[in-house]
Amino acid sequence: MKNRWRILVVDDEEVMCESLAAWLREDGYLVDTAASGHQAIEKTRQVDYAIYFVDLKMPGGMDGIETMMQVRRIRPEASIIIITAYATVDTAITAMKEGAQEYIVKPCNPEEISLLVSRIVKVKNLQRENTILRKKLSRQYVVQDIVTKNARMRDILALCQEVASLRSTVLIQGESGTGKEMIARVIHNCGDRAQKPMVSVSCAALAETLLESELFGYEKGAFTGAAEQKRGKFELADSGTIFLDEIGDIPAKLQVDLLRVLQERSFYRVGGSQEVRVDVRVIAASHVNLQQAVSEGKFREDLYYRLNVIEIRIPPLRERREDVPLLARHFLERLSHELGKDIRDISEGALKLLMDYNWPGNVRELENSIERAIVTCKNHELTEDSFAFLALNGGVGRVWAPPAGMSLQEMEKVLIVSTLQRTNGNIKESAGILGIDRSTLYEKIKRYEIPR
């Protein structure tokens, strides 16, 4: 590991410089030398040295302390060791006050210098490991927050990580409560914009004029009440990500403005004449089928294609029922802690009930149901009784009626398609659920031309 660290030895005496460099190279470090403070600064701008050995007395108007101060401005994390042949308490204090990590008097004992370097390297290795782990932790946290063992969801998460560092627009489609914003956050947090802001706007919540000024900002005096200039969400998200939720609900005029931003990466504030340029990654989400909205003339086709560069379709919870117990336990653990209740488990019966429920409100509804059950729970376990309210909602044991006018064959096709979706195309499992042979299922898939 240690030979990855680069060291710069700065001394005007060539033999001093080279002999220390040679000795450190034998120890496996990558070592460069500089004959003056100015040369050291030049090299510092080009190479990221971790450790510096700087001679205190150097001619040319730039001594060791001055060199160290300039190096620290460029590489504040570098460790600097001041070397001197003439040790005085004053110079040692000055060196340490200006940020030298160590102060050594030459000639020094090989043991001393070897221990010194290995101690610094040990700390540097730990610091680097810490940085890597922190990065890993923050990445995994957001991905882990999406609790799933569903193959389609796993594919989605893999895609998120793949596209995270691209600037391409992402369109996330899925029913309400499936976690579209969470997926957007995964994309933002896994990419190189993670340290920059992610700004969310719900396009459905605001009227046309309000949404326009919310997105693009306005100039002072643009309209009554515009007492001063205000920056819009696009400007606030500059160099980061903007998440446009419920994009299907934006009015026609704003669709044109949005198209312009996506094409030109620039816009005008409301009432403004000066073009504002931004570097923003756009992630849009919609609970309505945008393609259908395009065919119905409610959504601009060109905007749809601009948004739909990378498409993510989140399956509804009823199509990934295997995630229900995982999510239920995840929410139980988190919410019982947040609500200060000591509820440790969820009964098998309760889990079965949750698995059978249809979850029209998807994961959000499941989370709310767990919260409600925790709040009203009197003991340490959530049971079927804790979820009695779900039956009242009509989700469990509801008498289900097929749409009117559907033929038996159409019904059979719908049932086969939905079963295959639920089992991720697993023929054996689907045949088991449908109560037919695998060969019969194959035959029906062929007959109904069901894509697999």
Binding site: S19, E26, K106, P107, P110, E111
Partner: protein, 179 residues
């Protein structure tokens, strides 16, 4: 075929030089030749009362025979580099010439009676260490390996007169060594 040269300055005994060359021959499996080199008195530093190893290496580079792949010299003089109080030896990393001193390997240096066996053992380890640098090896973290860094004789005594498996593997990748 090029040879590994073991050189000695005039004050070094023929027996000591022979011991080092036989260590080199058996460890590296290379043809070894012996030569005598001039005194290194020119490298003496009045202020330090020691000998500058850097200029000794420069002299050795000039004297290195054409058929020498590497040259390792031994001396009785106490060596130093300006920034350190002393060095047991110095090598051009992955280069042609190296030197090491018997001075601080002797028990007498520390005020003890002479111990020839200890001297020969330490000399074999130091010779392997500097030769390892000539073949591109850097310090090893295995404290028993000849390539581990020793800054006192206690550390030299606690290592073996051989290379650890990873260092041997690295040497084996060097053409013609450990063949």
């Amino acid at each position: 075929m090029k040879c590994f040269y073991v050189a000695a300055s005039p004050e070094v005994s023929v027996e000591d030089q022979r011991m080092v060359s036989s260590t080199m021959a058996s460890e590296f499996g290379l043809p070894v030749r012996e030569i005598r080199v001039p005194s290194i008195d020119f490298a003496y530093d009045e202020g330090r009362r020691q000998y500058r190893s850097v200029v000794v290496l420069e002299m050795l580079a000039r004297l290195c025979p054409d058929d020498a792949s590497k040259l390792l010299a031994l001396t009785e003089r106490d060596l130093f580099v300006p920034v350190l109080t002393f060095v047991y030896g110095q090598a051009q990393l992955n280069g042609r010439v190296a030197v090491f001193s018997l001075s601080r390997l002797r028990q007498e240096f520390y005020g003890f009676p002479p111990d020839r066996e200890a001297l020969m053992e330490r000399a074999a380890k130091e010779a392997l260490h500097e030769a390892g640098h000539l073949f591109g090896l850097v310090h090893c973290t295995d404290r028993t390996c000849a390539m581990s860094l020793a800054t006192n004789v206690r550390q030299i005594d606690s290592k073996q007169a051989s290379f650890c498996a990873p260092c041997r593997a690295r040497l084996a990748r060097t053409k013609g060594v450990l063949a």
